[in-house]
Symmetry: C2
Subunit: 355 residues, 2 copies
């Protein structure tokens, strides 16, 4: 690994830029990419030369392993530009660690820190004009790795491709989110891959989510697959419940993604004097709290949407609407967090890292 | 769909052939592909012109959905050449139906029968010289579909690519297979995607299987994830247990792939007067049967290996070796089945279909 870590990043600048074609005021999430990408291949046990190069399609064999056996993991993180045009990352070490945790669970090679971090920084530097400041602007960062070996035999790939691509985004507004509590479908098994940010975990949610959409619900709150009583997380968000003045969120486990926003909000809320309890909330508790009025808020927490307030939930064909609050904890925490991320408030936690 | 189904298959023959470079006596499973492939894209809600064309790599964008959210399904089937050089498929309708069942569960479009079946037949015709007769030879067929839309947002893809590739194989000998019964890891959740032939189901098994390999076991027998007591299936095989003279195999469920070999063996065994019970075998029963000598055989059943006898199993760090039998049911059923598949015995079931 040490030999690998010292390999210098090769930089092949693009001769043209697409930046003038982009309407930065009307960005659809994750649809536009910058001029460059970062790439590093893992071939026969060795990381090859890391490269920043023009964003472009690449060739794959029809028998490429990822298409058949699904070795594919990713991360989602953001970079922000401050008023002095410096670019900042938010807790990138957490994403790096989680990426390699996912890699281990999916029998893929761990990416050396120098490749992941230096690659990301070089990429952000070459495409820095694409990072816009102010008003909810950020650069969504997508590191990912796929099995690129060939052959249709159900074994781990021998070769892999690690890439980082960048997509400028505006603040994400999911609209009014109504959720349905999972009574039959599940996203993760005990002893399964739910804690990995593995591509297959997402595809499995699309069909039940489509069914929910048809009934007028935007998201599903997943429950444990054995009893469907413990409230776990949503599609790409961890979930918080506010009952009276306490925030509850499920403990991380093999079934749940250990979200960076989740752990950040736990610390931020505690620092505000808000009581936080990390424990499974049961659906019966939630229904009871909704019925007796102690359920004040539910919100999702994740990198893309930051905090997404939930308007109501459905369980056993009954819809429970949440009260409209003047001063919601969700709105308060969201403002505090985005101010830290955008360098508009002091970061006493040491979460922000300059590129 | 009807407009689509009448679209004629375009045929673009390869100007060269790799067939003379292939050592058909030393084929490694799934590693060599024929000169052509079948391809049909689904774009903006419509199946495009189905095409047989030279096997070649294709271009993908780094943000291609399958890399990020894992919409990818496949099938595994075989074609056989008889002594008169006719090519036969084995129960292709079962694979076709299962493919579309997987497609629905993964929120992908169903492939019209004309595209799947006619495409497969045209492909087998153009590459018929690659289908070898006799002595365990067959053509392994890999239909698959991937999400080819672009953009890093966790929604179903808008576009898809359906492909069929062909790989000539020899009879598969897995060696002596010792298995370990899963006590912690799992392959499928209740309400999950275990019954779909989805790429992500396989990647999730690699890490626990690597751990098993290190302890000297080739495969894992998966158990239900909630209690780890019900014996379900192996990596790419359903599993049969012979206790005294009865064969047991788990019922299909949301957690288990509905194997074509499994259902074929159930019918074949019954037609031989063998008692078959479709019910969950519990690990405690298996241990008891091993201890009292009533456990005679365990074998895996799947398209690739047909039947793979299991030499012994490990549970809670104790290894149970199976008796060596002169006349095993596994060997008997395997011979009967491969004779039908190779047209060496009469197919009274109507399973074989001429191309
Ligand atoms: C399944 C799932 N849960 C939760 C989250 C939230 O994690 P984070 O806050 O690190 O973005 C994500 C990621 O976006 C996710 O995919
Ligand atoms: C998980 C799994 N179980 C069982 C089987 C056996 O199915 P079939 O007999 O249709 O090949 C397969 C497929 O090969 C499989 O992937």
């Amino acid at each position: 690994m040490s030999a690998t870590q010292t390999k210098k990043i090769e930089i092949i600048p693009s001769t043209t830029s697409k930046i003038n074609e982009v309407d930065f005021e009307n960005l659809s999430f994750g649809a536009v990419f910058t001029d460059h990408l970062f790439e590093c291949d893992f071939i026969d046990g060795e990381w090859q030369t890391p490269t920043v190069k023009p964003y472009a399609p690449f060739l794959v064999d029809p028998s490429t392993r990822v298409f058949h056996y699904g070795q594919a993991i990713f991360e989602g993180m953001k970079a922000y530009k401050d008023e002095q045009d410096a670019i900042w990352l938010f807790r990138p070490d957490e994403n790096y660690k989680r990426f390699n945790k996912s890699a281990v669970r999916m029998a893929m090679p761990e990416v050396p820190e120098a490749i992941f971090m230096d690659g990301l920084k070089e990429l952000l530097k070459i495409d820095q004009a694409w990072v816009k400041k102010g008003n909810g602007n950020s650069m969504y960062i997508r590191p990912f790795m796929i099995g690129t070996g060939t052959g249709v035999i159900a074994n781990p790939s021998d070769n892999y491709k690690f890439m980082i691509i960048l997509s400028p985004v505006k603040s994400y507004y999911a609209g009014e989110v109504k959720v349905i509590v999972a009574e039959h479908y599940s996203r993760a098994a005990n002893g399964g891959i739910g804690a990995a940010k593995a591509a297959g975990n997402y595809a499995g949610q699309f069909y039940p989510t489509n069914l929910a959409n048809k009934e007028g619900f935007q998201q599903i709150i997943w429950t444990d697959d054995a009893t469907h009583t413990k409230l776990e997380e949503a599609g790409t968000m961890n979930v918080f419940f506010r009952i009276n003045d306490t925030l509850y969120t499920a403990p991380t486990s093999e079934r749940i993604l250990d979200g960076v926003t989740r752990k950040t909000l736990i610390d931020l809320a505690k620092s505000e004097g808000i009581q936080v309890e990390v424990r499974s909330v049961l659906i019966d508790e939630l229904v009871e709290a909704a019925n007796n009025g102690s359920l004040k808020e539910i919100f999702g927490a994740g990198t893309a949407a930051v905090i997404s307030p939930i308007k109501g939930f459905s369980y056993k064909d009954h819809y429970y609407e949440l009260p409209k609050l003047e001063n919601s904890v969700a709105a308060d925490l969201k403002l505090k967090l985005t101010n830290i991320q955008n360098k508009l408030a002091e970061d006493t936690f040491g979460w922000t890292v300059k590129v």
